[in-house]
């Protein structure tokens, strides 16, 4: 029996989060036995780059593509062509427009993430205070959805004021500069929420460099391995993330099950995710994996060497 070849297409190669996801994919492959993982992606986060990668995957006649998209619309036509040629396509992490995939796996549900990021800030602001948002790239949608979801629940936190939102483009230097600008513009700032793994590291560094450890708490979504230093220095009291290893694992399982026709995507369908149970698809053929997990000084050492 031939190997089932599953391509894990990421936004860009070399990002720690996706490397961890690739590790999860390999775990799934090992568990399934007859799966070959092709871990690939462009070198910078562009849709054109991903399309070239998709074209070469179509040419190689892989069995399934699981993609975290740089642009939900731009990659859709290429993925549609992949589906026409009999390739199973799912998206995970950052979604693709519905016509370009069979299903989408959210790392967590958007409302859960939205509530988590504001809760993380509120936990350390019993008296209330000013918080600001440092978002990621201009071409990624999930940050905006999470911020939207966060705004929906702001009524529950009457003492907390969101003073501004800036964009760091997922570039270390730009995020750093934007974080500096925030502290400059809002001298009374209490917390920076960065729902992006690049931004949160840069913001923590900016807080340390500005000598504002203890005054400004950096929180949001980050990777334990990259945030260990910030927790140690006190620039960040806590942050959250879903487990990227699990995410890669789950995406691979889903792709395998759909590609081998063990399951079919459709509203209400249940698709297996191996050790993580079943994913239930909603009306948009979307499913959520799990809720984010919070890391702080008490548990960081346990995870920082894993991902």
């Amino acid at each position: 029996q031939d190997d089932v070849r599953i391509a894990l297409v990421v936004k860009a190669l070399g990002i720690g989060f996706f490397e961890a996801a690739a590790e999860g994919a390999e775990q799934a492959a090992e568990e399934l036995g007859n799966v070959e993982i092709i871990y690939t992606g462009p070198t910078d986060t562009t849709a054109e780059g991903q399309i070239e990668v998709i074209n070469s995957l179509i040419a190689q006649q892989v069995d399934a593509i699981a993609i975290s998209a740089n642009d939900p619309d731009a990659v859709a036509p290429a993925l549609q062509r992949a589906m026409q040629r009999g390739i199973t396509v799912i998206s995970w992490d950052s979604g693709v427009a519905p016509e370009g995939r069979e299903m989408h796996l959210n790392p967590s549900s958007n409302p859960l993430i939205g509530r988590t990021i504001i809760q993380l800030a509120a936990d350390h602001l019993p008296e209330g205070g000013q918080v600001a948002l440092l978002s990621a790239t201009t071409t990624s949608t999930n940050q905006n959805i999470w911020i939207e979801e966060m705004n929906k629940v702001m009524g529950d936190y009457p003492d907390i004021e969101v003073v501004g939102t800036v964009y760091g483009d997922d570039l270390a230097d730009k995020s750093y500069r934007e974080a500096q600008g925030l502290m400059q513009t809002y001298p009374d700032l209490d917390a920076i929420i960065a729902p992006t793994s690049v931004g949160i590291v840069a913001a923590a560094q900016a807080v340390v460099d500005a000598g504002k450890v203890g005054e400004v708490n950096v929180t949001g979504l980050g990777l334990p391995s990259e945030m260990a230093g910030a927790i140690e220095s006190g620039a960040s009291r806590s942050f959250a993330i879903w487990n990227p290893i699990d995410l890669g694992y789950a995406a691979t399982m889903l792709a395998y099950n759909l590609a081998t026709d063990a399951a079919e995507a459709g509203p209400g369908a249940e698709v297996g995710m191996g050790r993580l149970g079943n994913a239930t698809l909603d009306d948009n053929n979307e499913a959520a994996m799990a809720e984010p997990f919070t890391y702080d000084a008490s548990n960081i050492d346990q995870f920082k060497d894993i991902f």
Partner: protein, 325 residues
């Protein structure tokens, strides 16, 4: 006063005007400590622009500076991660040497094979970037993998200014000395201004260009270490596209792209102009999305302006016309 009519004075005036405009909306921006912060933030741009200035003076262009910076930065970070005990001065020496080597490769291709500089550096730009990916396997080097000493240097404060700023100041001073007071510095102008005549004056055009590239590479290497240690992260794409900002700083600073004309003061002011805009936008609440268009507009206005100022006057045969206009 000749100075008041010079490009530099006008650019300085434009910067003051810009600062006044920002201060009007947001007085905190012109507080001394914030200006110091802006300067610190602009330091890498200043360092690279100085190197680029030398190259442009000799009628060449170096598009590989940002890739050189990124590769040197990555090597420094990886060496530090692998051998945290290695003293920082050794790392800096390595950064300088590696940067110089990459610059020298450009320079040699231009000098010995007479390949047009834009082709050479377009090629080496992609090659250097590619090498980063190959040696790092695309992985990032993160803050916690770097030693504290490695990260501490650029941000350590000396007399109220971070070392990064001091390095920029020292390099500007040394570079100005090199440009104004050494034979090599003057040769940059001669070789770019009139290559044919430079031969008559006993200068070797190719070799002078080689040194300009090496100088530019050395500064890019130094900036590579500073960049990576300051932002405490190294990955393939750092400073991507920065080469154009560097050229822009030179052009705004009045360096003639045709070679042979421009001053260190102008370049520093040109870099500061871009740095101030970049730092002011988030502060005055203009969407950062305006930044690109603003710097593009600034380049066009600056080059149009410089071209007017340096229009050639012909041979001036009529005696009565010599000192007029």
């Amino acid at each position: 006063m000749a100075f008041l009519k010079s490009r530099e004075a006008i650019l300085a005036g434009a910067i003051l005007l810009l600062l006044a405009l920002i201060a009007w909306r947001f007085p905190g921006f012109v507080a001394p400590d914030n200006l110091a912060r802006v300067f610190n933030d602009t330091s890498p741009l200043i360092l690279l622009a100085l190197g680029q200035m030398a190259v442009i003076l000799t009628r060449c262009i170096d598009l590989s500076v940002a890739a050189n910076l990124a590769l040197t930065g990555m090597v420094c970070a990886m060496v530090n991660a692998a051998a945290p005990g290695l003293p920082v001065p050794v790392i800096i020496a390595m950064a300088l040497a590696l940067g110089a080597l990459m610059g020298a490769v450009n320079g040699l291709l231009v000098w010995t094979l007479a390949i047009p500089p834009i082709v050479v550096t377009l090629g080496t730009m992609t090659i250097y970037r590619g090498i980063i990916f190959v040696i790092s396997d695309g992985q990032w080097v993160n803050s916690h993998e770097m030693s504290d000493a490695f990260k501490a240097l650029p941000r350590a404060e000396l007399l109220g200014l971070p070392v990064l700023s001091w390095i920029a100041l020292v390099v500007v001073a040394l570079f100005a000395l090199l440009i104004v007071r050494t034979p090599l510095g003057r040769a940059f102008y001669a070789v770019g201004g009139n290559p044919g005549a430079a031969v008559y004056a006993g200068l070797n055009v190719g070799r002078t260009q080689f040194w300009a590239f090496t100088l530019s590479g050395t500064l890019a290497g130094l900036t590579g270490y500073l960049w990576v240690s300051r932002y405490a992260v190294a990955y393939v794409d750092i400073a991507s596209g920065f080469e154009l900002e560097v050229v822009a700083a030179c052009v705004i600073g009045g360096i003639s792209i045709a070679g042979g004309a421009g001053t260190v003061t102008g370049v520093v002011l040109g870099a500061l102009f871009l740095g101030i805009i970049k730092n002011a936008l988030p502060v005055v609440n203009v969407s950062p999305f305006y930044q690109l268009a603003i710097s593009g507009g600034a380049i066009i206005i600056a080059v149009a302006f410089n071209a007017r100022a340096s229009r050639s006057r012909g041979r001036v045969i009529l005696k009565s016309a010599e000192h007029a206009s």
